[in-house]
Symmetry: C2
Subunit: 160 residues, 2 copies
């Protein structure tokens, strides 16, 4: 039972690592150069602070996921795993919410604030950002499952 | 010891409720009307989807905090408390990150996307949004402490 649970968590961590690496790489490689009225516009992820934060947060999560794969099953470090898992889940939530909100402004703009949508001009860039957000969402979902699984199986009062 | 821990958590929940109520109310009452070149501009929180989400998320958290104050110390419901606490902490993280990113654009703008800062025109509105964000941050901090406290004191493998 405990071995099954550990194999299940390891699989989830492996998938979460793949999702967060992919989110970071897809966001970091998103760029497009376009010309409007003979003005060249270059869109890169680092021009928007939220996207940079998204890349950093997903890279940290990917590195952490890799680390946890090599932890001994019941070592001293694994005691703190749940705490770190919760922190990573919150970090990924923040990164996704932050990048998601900005990309929403990029797609729809905001008429009240006078911010125009930019996705019509740089649609390839926007699509790649969207792909990164979806990958980041999958990573967050996996970490949420890991956290809830650990809490519900290992937390004392929850045991029947 | 267990009684002390419960009193401590109750105090944290009470403070978290105050912080999240205040965050929701301050954000929901933020508005300013200003005139630029004889054009009247009205800034309200609901014009920005992230700010609406911030109000909803903090209201949900405040209502949840109120509910948890009346839970019996060791009832069936309190078993699920940690799971819900983690969900609330993630909800507050998302709300703060989302509203924070947009208010950053409001304050600094983004020269690459052509989004102009609006806080010079509606500074009272921006200051109130900032106050709501600080209150929301305190609520998030308190929920993070609640989650980490519960996990480290109640999680089985962490007990010495």
């Amino acid at each position: 039972m405990a071995k099954d649970s550990r194999a299940y968590t390891l699989l989830l961590r492996l998938l979460a690592m793949a999702a967060t690496i992919s989110a970071a790489v897809v966001m970091a490689t998103s760029h497009e150069t376009t010309t409007i009225f003979s003005i060249t516009i270059k869109a890169e992820f680092y021009q928007i602070p939220s996207f940079t934060f998204f890349v950093i947060a997903n890279s940290i999560s990917a590195a952490y996921s890799l680390l946890t794969l090599f932890l001994p099953p019941a070592g001293l470090m694994s005691r703190w795993l749940v705490v770190f898992d919760v922190m990573i889940a919150m970090l990924l939530t923040g990164a996704l919410a932050s990048a998601g909100s900005i990309s929403q402004v990029g797609k729809k703009g905001n008429v009240h604030a006078g911010w125009l949508p930019i996705c019509d001009e740089v649609s390839k860039y926007c699509n790649q950002v969207m792909a990164a957000l979806i990958s980041g969402f999958i990573g967050l979902l996996l970490y949420t499952i890991i956290v809830l699984h650990t809490i519900t199986t290992e937390l004392n009062p929850l045991l029947p």
